[in-house]
């Protein structure tokens, strides 16, 4: 982390630690404010706390429900922050085809926030999604591993190459998705969690190496990836335990 980034993070930590709207970080941190002594915060600690205790700013926002196993959580995202995310590339006719409803809506809103009109695919109707994608002549795709397989028939007789395909998710099984490589000029893997947004990216290849996205810091603590995002989010992500095994992804820190 360079000095400028370190300084912006220090400012963020101080703001979060003294925030009058929400107190979950203060509760977990106590009076500690130095990054290297801040405790790692888990999903249950952060997103298991009431929404009001982790709403660090008020803004026009989308609230998402996300499920992890049997547990249900809420995650609130200001549209201004959604717009800053790097889920895909900017093209004229993007398509969002994801297996989760809330993620589909959020990624489609990301397209709108960036001035694109997306086609959103119906999760439970791949045949219709494929038919519509052909009709709209999509030029990019934001998808996940499961949905990409459902969408496979689209590529069977697609007469052109997409500008990009962004496959998002917390982990990737390369052997299951590398078939898609010939169908786009660029196929990128984007490490993403519903509650953190995107935080690292790699080209699809046999042994992908992920680079942290701008303003994202990734540490390995124990055997898991711990994430800090330097943006002032509704629920800031500071030393957050992603529960992603460091053995499942290779991270190339700058």
């Amino acid at each position: 982390m360079n000095d400028t980034l370190h300084e912006s993070l220090r400012v963020l930590i101080n703001e979060v630690g003294s925030n009058q709207l929400a107190d979950i970080y203060h509760t977990v941190w106590g009076e500690r404010r130095a990054l290297d002594v801040l405790p790692v915060i888990s999903r249950d600690e952060l997103f298991g706390s009431p929404l009001a205790s982790r709403r660090y700013k008020s803004a026009s926002s989308l609230v998402k429900i996300f499920h992890v196993g049997e547990k249900t959580f809420l995650s609130e995202w200001a549209y201004e922050d959604v717009a800053r995310e790097q889920f895909g590339t900017e093209t004229k006719r993007p398509m969002v085809y994801l297996s989760d409803n809330a993620e589909s809506i959020e990624k489609s809103m990301w397209c709108y926030e960036r001035g694109m009109v997306p086609l959103i695919g119906e999760v439970h109707n791949p045949a219709a999604a494929v038919a519509m994608a052909k009709k709209y002549q999509i030029d990019s795709l934001i998808t996940d591993e499961l949905s990409l397989e459902r969408f496979r028939p689209f590529f069977g007789d697609c007469p052109y190459t997409l500008t990009s395909i962004s496959i998002i998710g917390p982990q990737f099984t390369i052997a299951r998705i590398q078939w898609v490589l010939p169908y786009a000029k660029e196929v990128r893997l984007v490490l993403t969690l519903p509650e953190t947004g995107a935080f690292a990216r790699a080209k699809l290849e046999v042994n992908p190496v992920f680079s942290p996205l701008p303003r994202c810091d990734i540490e390995t603590v124990g055997e898991t990836l711990v994430l800090t995002k330097q943006d002032s989010l509704v629920t800031p992500i500071i030393r957050y335990d992603t529960a992603i095994s460091s053995k499942s992804v290779r991270i190339q820190n700058a």
Binding site: S61, F73, R93, M109, V117, K135, Y136
Partner: protein, 368 residues
């Protein structure tokens, strides 16, 4: 008269033009692209929906709506309008059927909705997962897209005593068709929206026929046959309106949405042939409230040409029809009875063949 095929040609041209020339970035939010068809079983039609400032005004009083809609594209369209119609610092929550579990009560309490928008069948299911305190904070329920029954409205009034319940008649293809319900009329009765001409094609002796609409904002769409049947009456309403449009469901009643499931005529016909225990039928569908929960109710009226009838035969029909009738891709009526979503099927015998009018309506929506 413009039927679905004619509309399809217009829509395809609009879609093609839009694809060739997407809007400027700052205008992107005014457009949604989507496919329509689904329950009609017709061909997929690409559609471009355009929103004006007027379209998003209905969100201007909302600060924390819950959106309860079906197709992803519909959910996105509503959320997009909410995003651009709500005051600053407002938020929205888009629900999916998969979110309806025991933890929803907790997350809804945290979210603290002030309003709920969407399909009535979805909203009444959400009502099961909301605690009293959270429900008291809901000030508006805005329904569209489905016929509502007295039982549904009653349940919503009981669950959300502080909410004003309104509905509108809209169609994806042409947009708004009615004014917001005025409160003086029963469910599914609307006053046509200003600038939309509503007509009834080939009405029968009771005035019921196919609904045709001609929106002034879409001059190329004249007498569009929506696929719904209804009745248009000229009579004064206490609100001052002089025309009342009663919506009676889909043309030919090819399907009815009920308690989160869909009763399809095609499926009922299939089961009738499969069980081979009667020659014709009519299916009365309704909602009932039992133990505070809205449940679907089916009453099957059967006709046999040979006049045979007996309690044993009725019981066999009830058992086989329930066992074989799928109301969702994976669940039969019998299974939905076991889970408490439906009450058991009842069966009676008709003395005479069923009269045929309104294109042989076999599935009827009736209030319990």
């Amino acid at each position: 008269m413009l039927d679905r095929a004619g509309y399809s040609l217009i829509a395809e041209k609009t879609f093609s033009d839009f694809r060739s020339a997407p809007p400027a970035k700052e205008d992107a939010w005014r457009y949604c692209v989507r496919v329509t068809s689904g329950t009609t079983g017709g061909q997929l039609i690409g559609a471009v929906l355009q929103y004006q400032a007027e379209s998003v005004k209905r969100f201007s009083q909302l600060r924390a709506p819950v959106l309860c809609l079906g197709a992803s594209a519909t959910r996105l369209a509503y959320n997009l309008q909410a995003r651009h119609g709500m005051p600053a610092e407002s938020r929205s929550l888009v629900l999916d059927g998969a979110d309806l579990n025991s933890e929803l009560k907790v997350v809804l309490a945290q979210y603290a909705p002030d309003s709920i928008l969407g399909f009535v069948s979805f909203v009444v299911r959400v009502a099961e997962y909301i605690d009293r305190e959270t429900a008291l904070g809901v000030r508006a329920i805005i329904l569209s897209g489905e016929c509502t029954t007295e039982a549904m409205e009653s349940l919503l009034r009981d669950t959300f005593p502080n909410a004003r319940i309104t509905s509108r008649y809209i169609a994806l293809e042409v947009g708004r068709i009615s004014e917001v319900s005025c409160g003086f009329q029963p469910p599914n009765h609307y006053h046509p929206y200003k600038g939309v001409k509503v007509e009834i094609d080939s009405p029968d002796e009771s005035g019921v026929g196919s609904i045709l609409v001609s929106p002034s904002t879409r001059p190329e769409v004249i007498q569009y046959q929506l696929g719904d049947v209804g009745r248009l009456k000229s009579e004064p309403c206490p609100c001052g309106a002089t025309e009342i449009l009663e919506i009676m469901g889909r043309n030919g009643r090819d399907y009815v949405k009920l308690a989160g499931a869909i009763v399809r005529r095609e499926e009922c016909d299939r089961v009738m042939l499969s069980v081979a225990l009667f020659d014709d039928y009519r299916l009365d569908t309704s909602h009932v409230i039992l133990d505070g929960k809205l449940r679907g109710k089916l009453h099957l009226r059967v006709y046999r040409k040979d006049g045979q009838r007996s309690p044993d035969l009725g019981a066999r029909i009830e058992k086989e029809f329930s066992r074989q009738l799928y109301l969702s891709p994976s669940r039969t009526l019998a299974e939905l009875v076991r889970t408490g979503d439906f009450v058991p099927l009842s069966v009676t015998f008709a003395d005479a063949p069923f009269p045929i009018k309104n294109k042989e309506i076999k599935i009827l929506m009736v209030d319990a």
